[in-house]
């Protein structure tokens, strides 16, 4: 069963994709697959909101992963060595700081999303200086950095708890490794702030602006 399940997971979606692509090609509507049209038709709000959601979602995912790995190690090690219980909560606080980074960036980004009437939404500034692109990719950057930082600090924290249970002198040295791991989340935060620093808010055009023929305004 384990050997054949990889056939299903990799074979079936790719088969489906090939069938759909060949159907479009052979029935002459191959131009329905249009990446440029997708990029021009989607609303800037969709990109921006997805960026903010990814930022806080992935940050909390990383922080939660780190906390559950560290927490289970502390609880297990605390059965035999109760003295590690209070000092190893430092690792948990390190993981939570990662989630706080995600919250701060979410607040900063969502302040940039202002409400603009739809006729004037699709201007050149909104598209190409890219509040929407900057918010989306900035949110993805911060979220992915915080995800991996939280996992790193969590696994290091769990090993620190077990090492502390064995030998109390080791804890301060392993704490230095956790500080280095926590700086990774800070790097993502700095890059996210740099990306949003050059992008202004959503601006309304002077008149009804339509950038491309694909956009239909009601």
């Amino acid at each position: 069963m384990g050997f054949y399940s990889s056939y299903f997971t990799y074979g079936f979606p790719s088969f489906l994709a090939v069938v759909i692509a060949l159907y479009l090609l052979f029935t002459g509507s191959g131009e329905a697959f249009n990446v440029g049209r997708f990029l021009e038709e989607t609303s800037p709000y969709a990109w921006a909101s997805t960026g903010v959601g990814l930022c806080i979602g992935l940050s909390v995912l990383g922080a939660g992963w780190g906390i559950f790995v560290t927490g289970s190690s502390i609880l297990g090690g605390g059965v035999r060595a109760p003295r590690i219980r209070t000092k190893n909560l430092i690792s948990i606080i390190f993981c939570e700081v990662v989630a706080i980074y995600g919250v701060i960036i979410g607040i900063v980004y969502s302040a940039k999303i202002t409400s603009v009437p739809e006729l004037q939404l699709y201007t050149r500034e909104n598209y190409f200086t890219g509040e929407r692109f900057a918010l989306f990719w900035g949110g993805l950057t911060v979220g992915a950095c915080n995800l991996l930082c939280g996992v790193c600090v969590g696994i290091t924290g769990s090993t620190a708890a077990l090492a502390d249970a064995a030998d109390p002198d080791l804890f301060v040295k392993i704490l230095i490794v956790e500080v280095f791991g926590s700086i990774l989340g800070l790097f993502g935060l700095i890059v996210g702030l740099l990306m949003i620093g050059s992008a202004g808010e959503f601006t309304a055009a002077a008149s009804a602006a339509v950038v491309s023929p694909y956009v239909t305004v009601h």
Partner: protein, 78 residues
């Protein structure tokens, strides 16, 4: 012990967000990047304060059992 952790967790959640909004309006006049940097520094300050307080408490806890052990051994010697 537990109360200290709760207070620190609440401070870690409230202090950065509060400092972001307060510094955005009163310190930096609307510049969001500098306000976010202020919020990050306040979060790191709370973190460092927690670490320092934990290590200091742990040092106090290890000094006390050492002194009690020496007095017990002196009683056994008599």
């Amino acid at each position: 012990v537990l109360v200290k952790l709760l207070i620190f967790s609440a401070a870690l959640a409230i202090a950065p967000v509060a400092s972001y909004f307060l510094s955005k309006d009163y310190l930096w006049e609307g510049n969001t990047t500098l306000a976010a940097i202020t919020a990050i520094m306040s979060a790191n300050t709370v973190l460092v304060a927690y670490i320092v307080m934990s290590i200091r408490e742990e040092r106090l806890a290890t000094v006390k059992p050492a002194t009690s052990h020496t007095t017990e051994e002196s009683k056994k010697d008599r």
